[in-house]
């Protein structure tokens, strides 16, 4: 009850509305703007709000900016969601094993994490995409490569402290298999701080994707907000709206996801205070 109250207060409501708005836009894209968003269907460089057929105007090549924006929302959410899942799965498995088994395994996994953390996240993503070639999958993998270390470290620290609790010994004395104890009994207790990390990972993934697309390393066959900004750059002085509109979309989405993450954090803390 109190945890739910804590979630739906101020920032939580705004965050939910923003993310829900982006999600609805993504879902409605084929309805509002059917057909290929990359089709050249109008006169180039129509200003926004001047032609009712193209409410947000057209770009340099005469493509509908609204259609691009809505379809871009899909790509953005898919990249954000998929990167979060991939990052959390890798981070959770590695963090749990390192924390629970300890010893050499812990050392090896944490040095691996050090290696990944010693390279700036974006350079890592850039290197991977330029080798693997631009596609949605490679962007997701590229983002996860740099991000998995954060949940892995947080989880390892949580598991290390939980491992000393007597209930873990009690399960061992009962004869429960170690992996079952680690993943089914201890892990759920360690998840709350990682769940709050999820929002940061999503926001970061959206930004990295946008930046890769901006550099021309996104999937060339799908519209993304980063690619739209890059596209508008050439005419930035005469038609700044082409970069500003997707830019605002990115800001709104990342802000929404972060507010949601903060609210989830507060709700989890309230629940833990009760326990």
């Amino acid at each position: 009850m109190r945890a739910a109250n804590r979630f739906f207060s101020g920032g939580g409501i705004v965050g939910t509305m923003l993310v829900a708005g982006v999600a609805i836009a993504a879902l409605l894209a084929p309805v509002v703007a059917p057909g290929d968003p990359l089709a050249l269907i109008g006169r180039p460089l129509i200003e926004p709000f001047t032609d009712w057929r193209f409410p947000l105007g057209t770009d340099r090549l005469g493509r509908d900016v609204l259609a691009e924006l809505l379809h871009g929302a899909r790509a953005t959410l898919i990249v954000g969601g998929a990167a979060m899942l991939a990052t959390l799965i890798v981070g959770i498995v590695i963090g749990t094993l390192a924390g629970f088994i300890g010893g050499t395994v812990d050392e090896a996994l944490m040095r691996l994490a050090d290696a990944f953390q010693s390279v700036p996240t974006f350079i890592l993503a850039l290197a991977f995409v330029s080798i693997a070639g631009p596609s949605l999958t490679s962007v997701v993998i590229a983002v996860s490569l740099g991000a998995w270390t954060a949940p892995a470290r947080v989880l390892r620290a949580e598991i290390l402290s939980l491992r000393r609790r007597e209930f873990v010994d009690a399960y061992r004395v009962l004869g429960m298999a170690p992996l079952h104890i680690a993943f089914r009994e201890v892990l759920p207790n360690a998840l709350p701080p990682v769940i709050t990390l999820a929002a940061v990972i999503v926001a970061n993934a959206i930004l990295v994707e946008a930046a890769l697309s901006f550099l021309g390393l996104g999937n060339p066959n799908s519209v993304t907000w980063g690619a739209m900004i890059a596209e508008g750059r050439a005419v930035f002085r005469s038609a700044p709206f082409l970069s500003a509109i997707p830019g605002v979309a990115i800001v709104v989405t990342v802000l929404g996801v972060n507010l949601l993450g903060d609210a989830a954090n507060d709700a989890i803390n309230a629940r833990q205070a009760q326990v």
Binding site: R165, A170, Y171, V173, L174, E185, N189
Partner: protein
């Protein structure tokens, strides 16, 4: 007649959290003369600690409403916690700052409240550490809290409480975290300090026997209210209130004859340990926790293991249930060499050899319901068909005296006693022959402790179980054990029937443990 030091009238403390409110203290009144000594006795939830916090001005500011009045007639009314009132808490580790040396912490109090310079304060800190009986106080002043033993830390906490020369010392369960011998030393120290400096003392405790030797007045509290306030001797010899009698009856007497007459050894041997050894650390920092222990537990008996903290009791327990691997020695269980068991064979043996842990809350997964906790062993050992599991869980709950309604509760929704019953039920689920009980009642209230000991006794009688019962409290061991092993420094220093150990203790440590136990009545000579 001098003015009283402290007058408390109709004190109430209400904690508010959202719509919920808890009346922790309800209409408490008492007075204390300068140099007077009062014990506030009660179990957890009685409000005794809230009274102490209110007196020291340490109640949280938000979410708390305080009613009634606290006045200090002989001090004027500008009383300052830390200067006029010193406080010592239960856990000396968490009340000391881990990154300052103990000398600095004691000196800091003198700098803050007496306006001394750091040099003067350091000198004073040295004197104080000497007064609280720390060996080599000037070397000790440079130590950090983690380098000290529990008893030494509590002495440091006491030195801090006394640093500004208070008129009143509030000691909140000051010895509960310590073993029997250390407890007796701290009690003696408190007594001496209070007498030397005409310091008034308020002792907060759950233990009537501990209060007896230290105070002149006892105030018994239950659910926030004062049950009765009497001179301590009258309180113990002729309690007027039913609740006081409950507390008295639940207090174990270390001088009573052992509860169990040494039966003819029931035998055959169930568990045999020989030459068991386990150490931690390397080189000069190596500590041999268990150092060549030979011990046998017979079928159907309770073997009590008693010793101070650091004597190796818990390591011994963990070796037996294979949570730790010994460096040397043998463990033979029902004629099988336990140490050679691996994998499935080990799992099978584990079913017959279970353990109950010390901290009933920490031993239960916070995210599992009671039903799930009790189903786990049934599922792992598979001796109950899945369709019968629900009935088996209900049966286990009955067995430990819990209502089946509790099956859907989470551990934090249970009381301390209920939690320990769930722990016992879980250990019983795999139908073991031997239970290793590691301090199973040390964290429980006295009245709950009596119930759990009775439950363990009933279960043993009905199921013919054997117990290896570990405790630091000789009075508990006296109440449960057929035979007793006394441990010190990883070795068994004395082993015998309960009767022999308690009537004719031969090792000095055994005698010291028996003498140090708090008593409700003066020991007959």
């Amino acid at each position: 007649m001098t003015a009283p030091l402290l007058t408390v009238e109709n004190l109430s403390v209400v904690f508010r959290q959202g719509p919920k409110q808890v009346r922790a203290v309800d209409g408490v009144s008492f007075t204390l003369r300068p140099g007077g000594r009062l014990a506030i006795v009660g179990e957890s939830g009685s409000g005794k600690t809230s009274v102490a916090l209110a007196l020291a001005g340490l109640l949280p500011r938000r979410g708390v409403e305080r009613g009634g009045s606290i006045r200090w007639p002989s001090l004027g009314n500008s009383v300052c916690a830390g200067r006029d009132v010193g406080v010592v808490f239960q856990d000396p580790m968490s009340s000391l700052n881990p990154v300052l040396t103990v000398g600095e912490q004691v000196a800091e109090v003198a700098v803050t409240h007496l306006g001394l310079s750091w040099d003067e304060a350091s000198l004073r800190a040295g004197e104080l550490l000497e007064r609280v009986g720390l060996p080599q106080p000037h070397d000790m002043a440079d130590a950090y809290p983690h380098q000290l033993s529990g008893g030494q830390r509590q002495r440091v906490a006491l030195a801090m409480a006394l640093a500004a020369g208070p008129k009143l010392l509030i000691a909140d369960e000051p010895t509960t975290a310590l073993d029997t011998l250390t407890q007796a030393q701290i009690v003696k120290l408190l007594d001496r300090l209070a007498r030397d400096t005409r310091l008034a003392l308020i002792l907060i405790t759950h233990d009537l026997a501990l209060a007896r030797g230290m105070v002149e007045t006892g105030m018994v509290m239950n659910s926030g209210r004062v049950v009765e306030t009497e001179p301590i001797d009258a309180l113990l010899s002729s309690p007027r209130h039913a609740y006081t009698r409950v507390l008295l009856e639940a207090t174990l007497d270390p001088d009573a004859p052992p509860a169990r007459k040494a039966k003819k050894l029931p035998g055959p041997p169930l568990l045999r340990l020989s030459g068991l050894r386990k150490g931690f650390g390397r080189g000069v920092r190596r500590v041999t926790a268990v150092d060549g222990v030979d011990l046998t537990v017979m079928k159907g008996e309770t073997l009590g293991v008693v010793g101070g903290s650091g004597s190796g009791k818990t390591t011994l327990a963990r070796l037996i249930v294979r949570l730790l691997e010994p460096e040397a020695g043998e463990i033979e269980f029902t004629g099988l060499d336990l140490l050679t068991h691996r994998g499935a064979a080990l799992r099978q043996t584990r079913a017959r050899l279970q353990m109950v842990f010390q901290d009933p809350l920490s031993a239960l997964n916070p995210l599992a319901t009671v039903r799930r906790l009790l189903s786990d062993p049934l599922r792992i050992h598979g001796h109950v068909a899945p369709v019968d599991r629900e009935a088996a869980v209900i049966g286990l709950l009955h067995r430990v005296g819990l209502s089946p309604d509790l099956a859907d509760r989470y551990p934090h929704e249970l009381s301390g006693g209920q939690r320990q019953r769930v722990n016992i039920a879980r250990a019983l689920a795999s139908r073991p022959e031997l239970l290793v009980l590691d301090e199973p009642v040390s964290s429980l209230d006295v009245s709950i402790r009596a119930q759990i000991l009775k439950l363990l006794d009933d279960i043993q009688r009905d199921l013919g179980l054997s117990y290896l019962f570990i405790s630091h409290d000789i009075s508990v061991i006296r109440a449960v054990a057929d035979r007793v092993a006394v441990m010190d420094n990883g070795r068994i220093v004395e082993l015998g029937t309960a009767d022999a150990i308690f009537t004719r203790p031969s090792h000095p440590l055994t005698r010291a443990l028996i003498d140090a136990a708090p008593r409700l009545h003066r020991k007959a000579l």
